[in-house]
């Protein structure tokens, strides 16, 4: 028997597979057994009720997709009354993703959501910070540090900072999040992209632009996961373009302690449980007893620091 458990700071997950925020909900419970998952991660919520972006909210690009769902949210009261209790039936840690457009609101929801039944808080700092010319918090180390420091003061739960690929300062941002007390990094969110329908000449998304997810994102997010795991001491959770067991193994080797699966679930709703059993098979086949043999085992010994931490294609 192989050991699939993984440690994320003080938490231990029964396996490293969990959904990515926004690609998972109670609706999936009929198709797969929620008890098989390493963790449950909910769609980002905001304190207040809000609508999302105009439709169409998704479109397809070659072998991947764009989305501009935005963060439609029923608000925190609804979430505490209906969603948290729902997940208590499962013996799986519940991770709640939160967001806000300024540090005060962020701290407010962070505190309010620190209730029994919630095991960790994922902080979606990829959304625009309206106090900083609309750039996302996660695009700059300074804003990352500010908001994470506020959040650290607002909750005793583990805080996972979810980074954005829309930056040239991945490593600085990762270090800032760690500095401010983040317990783990989720790497990463979607990459700002666009597609135009050449017949109608209209953008394919109602919101003009949206985030790229799926296989096209993988080499980018994998690079970020690798860089972050080299730079920080807290665990890194890989996310971006994972759809096979081999993708998971690649992220683990790069340094991720766990992974999130997003778009692949839209293509195959049973992707997560299939990958969990596939990972077990893979480890048996390759004589790998537990995940620590994989995590961070990339053979990069010769590489100079300047190469590991470069932030532009050479």
């Amino acid at each position: 028997m192989v050991d699939l458990t993984t440690r994320l700071g003080a938490m231990t997950l029964k396996n490293p597979i969990m959904p990515a925020s926004g690609t998972f909900s109670e609706d999936l419970a009929g198709v797969i057994d929620f008890n098989t998952l390493g963790a449950h991660v909910t769609k980002t919520i905001t304190y207040e009720k809000r609508g999302g972006n105009p439709t169409p909210r998704v479109c397809e690009v070659r072998g991947s997709m764009l989305n501009s769902i935005g963060i439609p949210s029923k608000g925190i009261d609804h979430f505490i009354q209906h969603v948290i209790p729902y997940y208590r039936q499962y013996d799986v840690p519940l991770v709640v993703s939160i967001s806000a457009h300024n540090a005060d609101d962020f701290a407010r929801i962070c505190q309010a959501i620190s209730v029994p039944g919630v095991d960790a808080i994922e902080v979606n700092i990829s959304c625009p910070n309206i106090e900083d010319d609309g750039k996302a918090f996660a695009m700059r180390p300074s804003t990352t540090q500010q908001v994470m420091t506020r959040l650290r003061g607002a909750s005793d739960l583990p805080l996972w900072a979810k980074l954005s690929p829309n930056t040239g300062e991945t490593i600085e941002v990762a270090l800032a999040a760690q500095e401010a007390g983040a317990d783990a990094l989720v790497v990463s969110n979607t990459l700002l992209s666009m597609a135009i329908d050449i017949q109608s000449r209209k953008p394919k998304l109602g919101n003009l632009m949206g985030g790229l997810s799926g296989p096209s994102l993988k080499p980018i997010a994998l690079r970020m996961a690798y860089q972050c795991s080299k730079a920080v001491d807290i665990p890194v959770i890989g996310c971006g373009g994972i759809s096979t067991v081999e993708d998971v193994v690649e992220y683990l080797i790069a340094g991720a302690s766990a992974v999130q699966i997003g778009t692949a679930t839209f293509i195959n709703p049973t992707a997560m449980p299939n990958i969990i059993s596939g990972l077990e098979d893979y480890m048996i086949r390759h004589g790998i007893a537990d995940l620590t043999e994989l995590i961070g085992s990339v053979r990069d010994d010769d590489a100079a620091d300047s190469v590991v931490f470069m932030e532009t294609a050479p």
């Binding site: 690609t23 009929g30 909210r57 998704v58 070659r62 997709m65 679930t265 839209f266 709703p269 299939n274």
Partner: protein
């Protein structure tokens, strides 16, 4: 990839359970220049459907076409006795082009049945539907169900020219009365359709209205329904990623209690109350 067919504990709002299953193509033939009929050999457990529900199809990748997301398709027919699932589709883009290349014996992964179908209240004796184009696919099972429940159904089938009135036989075969209106004959205008429906209402033969698709038809039926207090339902379309209710990409706006609410076409729909639906 995945072809397990897990039991869906959380059921779709309307009735059944959701499964991801591998089916086999029995046939995939051109119905006329624009439409194709796909007949799948499907396991019994996905054939407990309701008219108006849909499946989410994992269209194959071919040399020319590599659709990534699944494609939603209304159930055109479900026949548990024959183990068959039918789809009527129009070739429009990459996904449906890939579907059109399927040959008998090929595998096709489908997810469903999904969504909430049409309702037929106990006291609706006379049903009237207005269908055009591929909307026929969505409404056809309603006729079947109406017959099963012993209701009378009138189908107004609209099309460009008489030749493309492909489902007339199907509706007739299910005991429906069929009225055809075509662009070619100049009979498909909204005024004429309104007059036809008005005629039915005058003789007390319309207890409920059904349609899908176009904005103009929605507005017409909303008006008629409101004037005469006749309930109605409409099947709507929207881009879909997950088809299960997770991603929230498929929302549409509805008017309810003087508010605008957003509902997911894949989960709260695709069939909605006609008066609540909003033209787009």
């Amino acid at each position: 990839m995945a072809n397990s067919d897990t039991y869906a504990g959380v059921s779709s709002p309307a009735n059944g359970k959701v499964f991801e299953v591998e089916t086999r193509v029995k046939s995939n033939t051109e119905v006329n220049g624009e439409y194709r009929l796909l007949i799948l050999d499907a396991p019994q457990r996905v054939l407990d459907c309701q008219p108006g529900q849909f499946f989410h199809l994992l269209c194959p990748s071919t040399l020319e076409n590599a659709p990534y997301l699944r494609r939603p398709m209304s159930i055109y027919g479900y026949y548990p006795e024959k183990g068959e699932l039918h789809f009527l589709y129009k070739v429009t883009g990459e996904g449906t082009r890939a579907l059109a290349e399927l040959l008998p014996g090929d595998a096709l992964n489908v997810l469903g049945p999904l969504g909430k179908g049409f309702s037929i209240a106990k006291d609706w004796r006379h049903l009237l539907l207005v269908a055009r184009g591929v909307g026929l696919a969505t409404l056809a099972p309603l006729a079947q169900e109406a017959r099963r429940r012993g209701r009378k159904l009138t189908a107004i089938c609209s099309a460009r020219s008489p030749e493309v009135l492909m489902s007339v036989d199907l509706f007739r075969g299910m005991g429906a009365e069929v009225i055809t209106v075509t662009d070619a004959e100049g009979s498909s205008g909204m005024e004429n359709i309104e007059a036809i429906i008005q005629g039915r209402i005058d003789v007390g033969e319309v207890d409920a209205l059904y349609t899908c698709g176009s904005n103009r038809m929605l507005r017409l039926l909303q008006k008629i329904g409101a004037e005469h207090g006749i309930p109605g339902e409409i099947a709507l379309e929207q881009q879909m990623a997950c088809g299960l209710g997770m991603c929230q990409c498929c929302v549409r706006s509805f008017r309810r209690n003087d508010q605008i609410v957003h509902e997911r076409v894949c989960r709260e729909g695709p069939v909605f109350d006609m008066q609540e639906a909003m033209a787009w």
